[in-house]
Symmetry: C3
Subunit: 648 residues, 3 copies
């Protein structure tokens, strides 16, 4: 995906169909004033483009694209398939999704289609074909924005057509019903199937549903949405082979496994909506930036949607304090984005998102928000030469895995934990030291792992033998590996690893885990490192490992909590508890030191980031207070909600 | 509605069909002992009156009415349509209501009918006709109690017949589908309709439903219930033109817009059930009395239902402490009631409300509760000459609006707030100073507004241009107006007011509101008035207004929080935050002073009220401690849960 | 049910169908090592035994039983009917249960059958017949384990077949619809029925459903499950008249009235899963042991299921600390169990309960858990001679009643309370003093009551005249009776007792209760006993009783809280509030002293138990600290999570 001239993109979703055409004139004028490079057009315009089945109304879109072109704004044209018109629901009610309780959901919000519906797909592809034929050569159009936030509200549907598709998917996965029975462990609770025809989606049931059925349903959901997406791509690549495509991901979104999706787009784009009320929003956001950058191995990505200020869909929607959106935007750039786009250009006057902020707010151009929009556009333009197309170096990696997320989100597990929050708790100490982290899928092979000096694996609940083998090879070859509680407990069929969990990592780490043990109260550690930890104390037996810290109290007193094992030419650590923030900072410092990873900050600081990209050092202060940031290169003063950018 | 002799009514729902006839004899004896003037009979008697379709059994009711008449008790006869018999559900299952998830609700509780059901209506009207014909001339009957608590459990039903009625209602409202599209903002999220036939109720959907569709569904629900009510009235007024009618309202009840209902009844009656566990119950109750009094512009009203002690339908149902029900009863009288009735006369032995207290409790006449009943009956009789038919003067008004309530109760708003609680927080400072408040609908015209020295408009989220114009005219003509955050944000179609919200009030108040801003923590104010405020700090730009207080901290530090604008010969205040109780007392004192409104209390006191009616001053103490109440006329001592009544 | 030799049973559920047969060899070896006497086989094996309708596969079970027999392990053979195969769901979808919202529940968890389904029953009985015919004479088999945890997930179903069965049940109970109308109080809310055909289950309805209908639905549910159970028993007793039968109860389980069930089994068995995170787990557990022992009047019972460590179905599943499961196991023995079995022998590798602990954990035999299993097996073997077959003496009884539980769990009651937790709060003071308590049904007659020196009746909300008469006779005959608030409020039709609640107990206790009164805050008592109490203060009027304590504050100040009445040659106490733990200890000491009941502890101690069985004194310490237990026979030191057993 290529912009000419090479500039950081700035702009957002543009929905002119919501406004009379006299507003369109002002739009282009204001876009110029704000330095808008890019508009994403027609995301929710299907009903406007095809008000009756097969009857297209495109004159308005011709007009809009011409105006944008005249104004120098380039267009990521949406395929408009994210929200079908009412006639699809009325003529084909079977396209409407069904809940796990059998409720067929009604038209009147958005995304009201069953992802497995052939009828929906047929009508969607016909629309895509029309748009590609009509606009593929329009001079304003530089790429396709396919659908929108796949799976956001309807990741799967429990209707009959979906059930049949699920059976087909299962047959492809397992071949025989015997293999399905083995994988699902149907000998338990008398669940044996004798035919694929007997299998249904995991609808509401008397009690806990089969865990592997649930996980396969999640996998089927992601695969079905991806198949829909690929069907649109097939049309676009046939008709407009030279136009790049993207679809907006949603960062840590449970229902689509973006490791599987990313190879199919030309550029990764992402929607990110930090909550100003969340004190850890900057950590979540930094990790999300790192995730989307990692999905295509560091290729620059696009922030497709962000909010200049408040969103509308939380229970309490705080505005962003002045300056904060600029910090968020520059964070995205520092972490690999080649553009900062927004939902949306002009705040809607009506509808369900009228309280979602926009570059042009309800108050109009005479407003703080529009003035900040103009300033941000200018700043991004000035940064373009240095950063566009450059990569973000990282020497630490962390494994993030959708299967583990799903498995830990099921009921009937040792304890209900939030996988992403747990992941972030292990990510944060690196952020606090100015250490950039790449994310990896759990099936990263040894060669890919070897690119990093330190690999951290938090709560990798599900892993295949090959995954564990690659981690073992990484350590044997000199890598530094940290593995935490709840890791390598299950194989990809969700069968427990017997004999002490961990599988091949038992050798790597020199320990066996004999019991998974959430604790009834916080525990404390003593040893080489000491301090507080959370309510978890797995039962660990060491073989070749050395005990670095043990529990000092509770019924696990004296048992190993943190172990270190030299293995081949590398080192494997196991941590059987959730250390406190301070203790984790201390452990992370030790791991970084052992692995020889340099840090940008001399000590951990909260609310501040330091990242290098394109020869520039970005020091970002997310907090409401000025901070003297202790960089290894000297102290730098960063005012509240501000950014210092200087040569690295 | 006229009582002869003119006495404050006392009594309650009387359900003799629950008891054998020997109990009826005791009932009349005890009623005499307690001074009961009025019984409401047959509210839930449909199944008893018509056990088989079209087959009536009225002998028992003849007997009951004759006994009551002989005992000197007058009757508000119910039309008995609130809870249809089981045969309606079995012969016509389509009359049963359907939930938004498509669940058809079962017989076995009460009110199990779809308000739009023509079959229900037909059978209900046949029953009403029979009752009117049979009892219209009975000497005991002095009026009709129509249905019961309309919409309490089933404000609307999502069945097909209701859907068709909704489409008819929309067609009447909008004329064309284009106008519906404009009003609903269906250009957003691809929701354009090309025919009214495509529109359905807002059933369960993938995500946020169209806000204007939701609001229209609320309006349709209220209108449909009112149409049902008017159909009964049509029968009654035709057959018994001389008998007055009422139906029991429920105060701050969301699903029926009582401003629209009140013109259709002859007298407003109300059900009120304060929670003894709620420390603000007396505030809520006072405001509810003021609401129902205001619905027909100050005409005396009837407390149709109250509980002598505990109710049964909360999670924890505290009894009223001795004396407290007397305080509540005299509060109703002081605030305009011409009668205090109860649910119910005799506590039920069985059924879902057997734990609801009554004038005659389970324990029988030898009980605190019955002794208090007797005393209350006597006290009301003694007060009758002074107060019956008199009005309650008020010089302050507050605007209360059902559309705003609905709009703020929707998801996808700036913050989920409780509209009624917010309203009460602005009402309370007047209550604490002994200042009586009338309530007004948002479409009160300038003449109606001009009757008041001070008008307070809290969180009037939805307002029409005309509404704002009348408020502006009120100020220009010398009125004092206070407007708070979240006001005049949307028009009646829920479209945002552009350019700084507020619409015409921008001139009235001399400010623009450029961002709606819930805050992440409590804020503080400095200036002419200073103190703490809640978690809200709208972005306000002043034009002609003067800043009375500004934020002292947080990211809005220095921005205007409270402004005052001289406009025409009046004054308009804007308050962009939620002041603390103390700060609001201070502001209210200033507003009252500026507007020249006298107060009965020299300083704000919690838990105490002072109201004048009929030449009497009622000083009520809702608390468990004696209070020396600082009246402007001198200090008066009021024991715990007691009332002092003296000439005003 | 008889074991030869007479040994405490040890073992658990054995599900070999989950494992390949090479694991079976290790199983028998490890069972011998652990001293396993008993395996419960085939609980969830229906699908394995009958993979296609009518086509049986039993060779594997032949093999397993032969191996167990060869290994000296005896078998409680399951009838395998608890979880039907998928073909039943697919061929007969009407067998699937339906929720109160009309959702038909899907196959894929367990217990997916409507208890009233004739089709399910027919297929279940055919399976039972086959198993009984085939294995009734197998030398390993010593008894039947019928179905499993009846009603655990599907206590009733709202389908049409169940509705018809409910009508039949009602007709049998009430004879005429007039009697149903009287019992249900259908005169209230216009609910009169004119035919049984009009009655439906209490499906989702607009508001509170008829309370007696709800209670009858609960009773019907329990009766329907019991009828299913008895149908299996009929087959088993016909084919294998010499084999004893049991089914595993679940202690305080709401949906099956075990007083009604227990007469039908040969031995009571129970599943008990204390939560290690619950500080009151030992109290709940002790009471549960006492309940199941009392169900067949003290006959030794069997702990059918327990977990050596963590379960899997709570939100957070803590392991048991080392030693704790031994304390739980010996507690069961001390309180009358003749065996300690487990779910399950070998921890599942897959499925919904793979994280449920087992005698052989995922980690294998080289683990703390298996070593503890071996030690427990040996200890139970050593205890056998002393305790097997012996009874546990008790001189205090408490009344526990399923109807009262149901009634207090309904909405529209004075306050939502947890009946079992309330019961336990009155049980705990006896546990703290080492006083063993038997439980009694509410219909225990005077002779049965007379076996006890003290009878405590907490919150017996529902009681028949005969029940109250027996309690009165008990006191008149010299018994000591304690009755608490919320008792004897309703009769078995849930009609209120008029005139002051309590019915015949008004004489027994010398008081009337004129108001049920949850309080808004904690109250305090003064008098002969004094101290804090909870948020409850019923209005009590004394007739012949003496006031022992009165409320010192709140609006009930001065009113009686605790009363004592000499009646005949006995004493009746009424307590109208919920005393604090300390106050209850003081009251219990007084009651025990008056009734002449000896205690094993000289003062109350938390977390410790002392019980006598079979000439042995068991002193159990559930806490994590060593305790010097002040026995009346002298102080005994019990280490943390340990047990001292010595001659009584």
């Amino acid at each position: 995906m290529e912009l000419t001239p090479r500039r950081l993109r700035f702009g957002g979703d543009y929905n002119p169909e919501q406004w009379p055409s006299d507003v369109w004139d002002e739009d282009v004028t204001l876009m110029k004033q704000a330095g808008v490079t890019t508009a994403t057009v027609a995301v929710f315009a299907w009903a406007r483009l095809e008000p009756y089945p097969g009857l297209y109304d495109t004159a308005w879109l011709d007009d809009v694209l011409d105006r944008l072109h005249a104004g120098g704004v380039r267009v990521l044209l949406a395929t408009a398939t994210a929200s079908p018109p009412v006639w699809l629901a009325r003529d084909f009610p079977d396209t409407l999704p069904v809940s796990e309780n059998g409720v067929r959901l009604e038209f009147g919000s958005r995304q009201q289609y069953s992802p497995a519906s052939a009828t929906y797909r047929e009508h969607a592809l016909r629309l895509v074909e029309m748009l590609a034929q009509r606009y593929g050569e329009h001079p304003a159009v530089e790429g396709w924005h396919v659908n929108n936030e796949y799976g956001c509200h309807v990741p799967y549907s429990y209707d009959e057509e979906s059930a049949a598709a699920f059976r087909t998917w299962l047959q492809a996965r397992y071949g025989t019903v015997e293999e399905l029975n083995r994988a699902w462990g149907t000998a338990f609770w008398s669940q044996l199937y004798t035919s694929f025809d007997q299998v249904e989606p995991p609808r509401a049931a008397p009690t806990f549903r089969n865990p592997t059925q649930l996980l396969d349903w999640d996998r089927f959901g992601s695969d079905t949405l991806l198949a829909l997406h690929r069907a649109e791509l097939e049309v676009l690549r046939r008709v407009t082979p030279d136009l790049p495509v993207t679809t907006n991901f949603m960062g840590f979104f449970p229902h689509t496994d973006y490791w599987a999706w990313a190879p199919h787009v030309d550029v990764v784009s992402d929607d990110a909506y930090p909550d100003p009320a969340d004190p850890l929003a900057h950590v979540r956001l930094a990790a999300q930036r790192d995730l989307v950058r990692s999905l295509r191995a560091g290729q620059p990505w696009l922030l497709m949607e962000s909010a200049p200020s408040a969103v509308n869909w939380r229970g309490r929607n705080l505005p962003k304090a002045p300056g904060l959106h600029r910090v968020h935007s520059l964070q995205a750039v520092a972490r690999g984005a080649d553009g900062v786009l927004h939902f949306q250009w002009r705040q809607a006057e009506a509808g369900a998102e009228k309280f979602h902020s926009a570059l042009v707010p309800h108050a109009g151009p005479d407003s703080r928000l529009f003035r900040e929009s103009v300033a941000l556009g200018a700043e991004l333009a000035a940064l373009s030469d240095d950063v566009v197309g450059t990569r973000v170096p990282a020497r630490v990696a962390m494994v993030f895995d959708w299967d583990s997320w799903h498995a830990l989100s099921q009921p009937a597990v040792p304890a209900t934990i939030d996988y992403v929050d747990t992941f972030l708790s292990w990510y944060a100490p690196f952020l606090r030291r100015g250490v950039t982290v790449d994310l990896l899928p759990r099936d990263a092979d040894a060669a890919r792992l070897a690119a990093y000096d330190l690999v951290v694996v938090p709560a990798l609940h599900v892993a295949a033998d090959d995954d564990l083998g690659a981690l073992d090879a990484y350590v044997r070859g000199g890598g530094h590996l940290v593995v935490t509680y709840l890791s390598a407990v299950l194989d990809p069929d969700l069968h427990a690893r017997l004999g002490g969990y961990l599988g091949a990592l038992r050798d790597t780490l020199g320990v066996r885990v004999t019991e998974i043990a959430p604790a009834g109260r916080a525990v404390a550690l003593v040893g080489d490192v000491a301090g507080a930890a959370g309510e978890w104390n797995d039962a660990v037996e060491v073989s070749t490992a050395r005990v670095v810290a043990a529990y000092s109290d509770g019924f696990a007193a004296g048992d190993p909590a943190v172990t270190r094992n030299e293995h081949g030419t590398g080192v494997g650590w196991y941590v059987g508890t959730q250390p406190s923030v301070a203790l984790l900072d201390e452990l992370a410092a030790r791991w970084l030191d052992e692995a020889g990873v340099p840090t940008l900050l001399t000590e951990p600081v909260d609310g501040v980031e330091a990242v290098v990209r394109g020869g520039l050092l970005f020091v970002l202060n997310h907090t409401g207070e000025a901070v003297d940031v202790p960089l290894t290169s000297g102290i730098v003063h960063v005012p509240a909600r501000d950014v210092v950018i200087r040569p690295a």
